[in-house]
Amino acid sequence: MRFNDAVVGALFILLAGAMIAMTFSFPPFPGQKYGPSLFPRIIASGIILCSAMLVLRGLKERREAGGPWLGLADWMHRPHRLASFALMMAAMVFYILASEPLGFILTAFLIQLCLFLWFGVRPLTALLVAVIMTGLVQYFFGSLMRVPLPRGILDSIL
């Protein structure tokens, strides 16, 4: 998925503009000429400068060689691949939403199982690997490293 450089440049000019606008609410450093707004403003100016050059370059490219505003990658035309991408994102969002209510063990197990099956791992292998890896990660991070992985519904069962 490749945008023309002009589109990317315009996007970052907007972001940097917003950044500069926000610096005006920062209070000055008492007794000094330069406050917390100086450095972000320099950085944002740098972004704007680079982006402006990207915009010029992108427009020149369009003028000379044509080319689309947005070029889609090969895999984006293939529904199965597009679904793979969406599923990876969905898996992460699911973790964020579900790991606290369901608990780490169940969430990690479900994510792995779904992804394995989607990517064509045989069901028995998928089930076994998902169980073993969930157990290993829970043991390593949860018990050895003492990371407070959410227990979720385990609390009500055990």
Binding site: M1, R2, D5, V8, F12, A16, M19, M22, T23, F26, P27, K33, Y34, P36, L38, F39, P40, I43, A44, G46, I47, C50, M53, L54, A73, W75, R81, L82, S84, F85, L87, M88, M89, A91, M92, V93, Y95, I96, S99, E100, F104, A108, I111, Q112, L115, F116, F119, G120, V121, T125, V129, M133, T134, V137, F141, M145, R146, V147, P148, L149
Partner: protein
């Protein structure tokens, strides 16, 4: 002397040795798997090392990266798929050698010269770093400001194919670094009233997002079923090694030297070292026509170079706190987390830690020989591990690792956002390595800039008034002028025919 003894005691501890061994196997595996890079290995290791003392934490990173850079050579030769970008320069050459039935020789050369090149880089690190630290101890905020500017500029200039996009990436990284409490006045910036953002953008989840999650997203859409098949068996690795050594010892030294210099330059790492040394080897060779047809000469240069770059990249990282490549950028982040601010004072205050890093480096390179041998012998089995099983497992590791950094979902959210953002940037041809450098160096740069501004009372000339600061400043400004010149239409027209 006592510091060295202490360092030996720190390293030769059963726990530390076990960590080194474990990360060596991990690094070998990740390096040997096409699509999983050495940087990704480091990013995945960091959450684990977070809970360790400094010596095992650094030991894990040193060992894993050294192994991964070598292990990338294995699938390059067997499948024409470099295991890490550092092996890409000579993947075709190695593959041609395999087709000619010289896989044994190729693997042997890769192993032996990776070990030797690695040790070369480490020796330079050991000799040079303490000497440079003595110079650097006199540096003030002016020198550090220019040094950081110079380092970042080099990163953009050398490390990327498109300097304009590299520079943009760097500025984005510096901008992301501005989120949180500002280092001079303590004013919260760009936090949108969010408590989590008050502590800044956490470095590790960002890293995992940019280097691992974006890679997984790319991997998911190119997924083929099953593993990869290796057909050719490996025989005796050491046969013919003496002949190669007698004939190409100069190439070894040249490759290692190029690798060391490029590794030590900020921003450029093992992959660029390999490309440059391979090109130099071809240019200076007596038989350049043989390059690309399965000729061992360029492989000697390049495989020595990428491993020597690993050690050399630590020189600017340890002495100035300026990363030599994206892996040492991670290391610097780890050092800050451990409360050891990298810079010359580490050499005075905790020399035993520096010596421990040196010892681990040598140990890791020696360990590379037996482990690399084992990895080559079992490459068939390793490469058969299917990616469709690996990818979801790595995803779980990423999420748990990011969670562990903040002990809250904030880490995971950050990882996902940064992963998607990193993926987007790479799709637009904007490299993410400069962004990470900017994020790591942002606070130091701003701190030194602000205190220099206050000391100089707002006069930019004050930045150039000390001799070393002046030299560094002029060098930086010249480099900037050169970049602007090249970007302008007149400069481009002149440069084009060359």
């Amino acid at each position: 002397m006592t510091a060295i003894t202490t360092a030996f005691g720190l390293v030769f501890d059963p726990y530390v040795l076990a960590v080194i061994m474990g990360s060596a196997v991990f690094g070998m595996f990740v390096g040997a798997m096409p699509g999983l890079t050495a940087t990704m290995a480091t990013a995945l290791l960091v959450p684990v090392t977070f809970f360790m003392a400094p010596v095992p934490a650094l030991g894990a990173i040193v060992t894993a990266t050294a192994m991964a850079i070598f292990a990338g050579d294995i699938p390059a030769a067997m499948l024409r798929m470099p295991g890490t970008p550092a092996s890409a320069a000579y993947a075709d050459e190695s593959y041609e050698m395999m087709k000619k039935g010289q896989l044994d020789l190729n693997m042997g050369v890769n192993l032996v010269f990776s070990v030797l090149g690695g040790i070369f880089g480490v020796l330079v690190l050991i000799v040079l770093a303490p000497a440079l630290a003595e110079v650097a101890i006199n540096f003030s905020s002016f020198e550090y400001f220019w040094l950081a500017c110079l380092g970042l500029t080099c990163a953009v200039f050398i490390g990327t194919g498109d300097p304009l996009k590299g520079l943009l990436s760097l500025f984005i990284g510096l901008a992301i670094g501005c989120v949180g409490i500002d280092p001079a006045a303590g004013q919260p910036r760009f936090t949108f009233g969010n408590v989590d953002l008050l502590s800044g953008i956490n470095f590790i989840p960002t890293l995992i997002g940019m280097f691992a999650v974006s890679e997984l997203l790319r991997g998911a859409v190119t997924m083929e079923k099953g593993g990869m098949r290796v057909t050719q068996a490996v025989g005796s690795l050491m046969k013919g090694m003496g002949g190669v050594f007698r004939r190409y010892w100069k190439n070894f030294f040249r490759g290692s030297l190029i690798g060391t210099v490029i590794g030590a330059l900020p921003g450029a790492g093992a992959d660029i070292a390999a490309w440059v040394s391979y090109a130099v080897s071809k240019k200076l060779s007596k038989e350049p026509e043989k390059f690309g047809t399965g000729h061992i000469e360029g492989v000697v240069d390049a495989t020595s170079a990428n491993n020597s770059a690993v050690g050399a990249a630590w020189i600017p990282a340890l002495v100035f706190g300026i990363p030599g490549d994206s892996i040492t950028a991670i290391v610097i982040g780890v050092l800050y987390m451990k409360g050891m601010n990298p810079g010359p004072s580490v050499f005075l205050q905790t020399p035993e830690l520096i010596y421990a890093v040196f010892i681990i480096f040598i140990l890791a390179n020696l360990l590379m020989f037996p482990l690399g041998w084992a990895a080559i012998k079992s490459a068939k089995q390793i490469l058969r591990v299917p990616r469709n099983i690996l990818l979801p497992i790595i995803l779980i590791f990423c999420m748990v690792g990011s969670f562990a950094m903040t002990n809250s979902l904030y880490g995971v959210v950050l990882m996902v956002v940064m992963g998607l953002f990193g993926w987007f940037l790479e799709e637009q041809g904007i490299p993410v390595a400069p962004l990470i450098l900017g994020l790591v160096l942002g606070e130091m740069l701003e701190q030194n800039f602000m205190s220099s501004m206050i000391k100089a009372d707002g006069s930019f000339l004050g930045f150039l008034s000390r001799p070393i600061a002046g030299t560094l400043g002029v060098a930086t400004l010249l480099l900037w002028a050169l970049m602007i010149w090249k970007a302008l239409p007149i400069g481009r027209a002149r440069a084009a025919p060359a």
